[in-house]
């Protein structure tokens, strides 16, 4: 069992409340996933700058060293915002490959959570409320976001085993369920040049969608292709720079509820995750059909 929540805002006036609404939804799903939690939030997209979210188990030392090293590299003052064990490094996009190289070769203790124009990912082991408070998620604004509360089945309870998983720029995925062909698919993706960082099944699904989207598929078509290639139980919620999508496997035993108003589209593993959203009483609320792709884009 795991819990999934998501919010895609149509009404810009709600953007300042995105973090607050997502935090409440996430906490409601605590008993579906008490061992770890994570949130991907899409905010402040920039044209010539890219955000890298990194995580370290010794943030005071590592993030200071990263700043020193990267300042030397680009001769420009880089912006590094530290939030608990995570840091958001904002760089000029033209330096992205060089900086990724520096981060992966010189800083073995840090892990890249996400890269993109607007995505930021925060995830840690612990109760969802504790995790959300550590990162002050409720104060964050943004255009859309997805969250996950984890009850681990397929890999260990670690920060890197928590969701969301991001395997491509501005992409992320959360999952309720378990995949049975993730090992063979991981090997197949490696041959295509897509490397997974963990033993986790969900990361393979994320990497699969990245592979398809690199191939020119849009999110909807990538999800459709997943119906035949991903074997197992899943309800997925996927985020991209411009929107989010939902897919359930053909058996559809993992729960899912969608709600839509003129102001937002909301997703919850259960209806009770949605009950405090504005105007939920007059929202169109429905259960997504099995093996059917739903997605919304700005």
């Amino acid at each position: 069992m795991c819990g999934i929540v998501g919010l895609f805002l149509k009404d810009k006036s709600l953007e300042t409340a995105l973090g607050e609404m997502l935090t409440q939804m996430l906490i409601t799903m605590s008993d579906r996933g008490p061992d770890s939690a994570g949130i991907a939030i899409y905010k402040n997209p920039t044209n010539s700058f890219t955000k890298i979210t990194v995580q370290s188990s010794q943030p005071q030392i590592d993030f200071k060293n990263i700043k020193t090293e990267l300042d030397n590299f680009s001769n420009q003052k880089l912006e590094i915002i530290t939030i608990d064990t995570h840091a958001i490094i904002t760089i000029e996009t033209k330096y992205l490959n060089n900086i990724k190289e520096i981060l992966t070769t010189s800083f073995h203790n840090i892990r890249i959570m996400s890269i993109g124009d607007s995505i930021e990912i925060y995830k840690e082991v612990g109760l969802p409320e504790t995790v959300a408070n550590r990162f002050d998620i409720s104060k964050m604004s943004g255009s859309h976001g997805i969250g996950h509360t984890r009850m681990a089945t397929e890999s260990a309870v670690t920060t890197m085993g928590a969701h969301p998983f991001s395997t491509g720029n501005d992409q992320c995925l959360v999952h309720n369920g378990s995949l049975s062909n993730h090992n063979s698919l991981r090997r197949k993706l490696l041959k295509e040049g897509i490397k997974c960082e963990t033993d986790n099944d969900t990361e393979v699904a994320a990497a699969y969608l990245t592979y398809k989207m690199n191939d020119g598929y849009n999110l909807g078509d990538a999800l459709k292709a997943g119906i035949t290639e991903l074997d197992g139980f899943y309800t997925f919620l996927v985020g991209t720079k411009s929107g989010f999508g939902v897919l359930r496997d053909p058996i559809a035993c993992k729960p899912a509820v969608l709600a839509e108003t003129e102001q937002y589209v909301a997703f919850g593993s259960e209806y009770r995750a949605l009950v405090n959203l504005p105007n939920i009483d007059i929202a169109k609320v429905w259960e997504p059909e099995p093996a059917t792709v739903y997605f919304w884009e700005h």
Partner: protein
């Protein structure tokens, strides 16, 4: 009428209070407000109470019901009315997966749509769905009636025993050992009675009946391919 607000009263207190009501108790009318998708609302009732739930519920609402008449003015999460023994449960909205599973008696009315596995392993319950139902509904249904005014998903009545299935709309596909059957006058009578009792504006003659071909009851080596 007694009103219980689930933002003020705990779910455990609510269910204990309702389960303490006996046939001789004076308070028959109950209203539950602010369920906010809570799990296990009004489970295990065993007296002929009249209960309204004003809002949507989570998992397992009205499970194991005996005698009570429960109306949910909203939608219901997975496993609504699981293992009902008697009484009547009405869902004004939609019901999630396995509505009415293993039910042994009583009537479940779903005014909206029901998701997958509706009436799975039904053992005597009557279920009337005004909208559509999802895949694998009435799987291994043993007895009782499942009435669907709309369409069904895949594999209706897979491995069915003696439950009766009545469908007005399209059947996407039938499951193993489920076949269309002749609609005789006794079936029309049963069906029309259920339609009337569930306030469904429909004529029994518009429906088709499905049930077991009785070829999978006992293991037969020639049927190995069907398992």
């Amino acid at each position: 009428m007694e009103t219980i607000d689930l933002t003020k009263s705990s779910l455990r207190d609510l269910n204990e209070l309702l389960q303490r009501q006996s046939e001789i108790a004076n308070q028959k009318q109950w209203e539950i407000i602010n369920p906010k998708g809570a799990h296990a609302v009004a489970v295990g009732l065993n007296a002929s109470l009249e209960l309204s739930v004003k809002g949507s519920t989570g998992y397992y609402c009205a499970g194991m019901n005996q005698k009570a008449n429960i109306k949910v003015y909203g939608s219901a999460g997975p496993g609504v009315c699981e293992n009902m023994m008697s009484g009547c449960v009405t869902i004004e909205g939609d019901a999630s997966q396995y509505a009415g599973a293993t039910g042994q008696g009583g009537l479940l009315v779903i005014k909206g749509n029901a998701a997958s596995r509706c009436g799975i392993s039904m053992k005597g319950i009557d279920i009337v769905v005004h909208g559509n139902i999802g895949h694998m509904s009435a799987f291994m249904g043993q007895s009782g009636n499942l009435v669907v005014l709309g369409d069904t998903g895949d594999a209706l009545g897979d491995s069915i025993y003696e439950a009766r299935l009545f469908v007005r709309g399209n059947v996407k596909s039938l499951g193993a050992d489920c076949v269309e059957k002749e609609m005789r006058s006794e079936h029309l009578n049963i069906l029309q009675d259920l339609l009337n009792r569930s306030n469904a504006n429909a004529d029994a003659k518009e429906f088709k009946r499905y049930g077991s071909a009785r070829k999978l009851y006992n293991f037969d080596i020639d049927n190995a391919g069907n398992y």
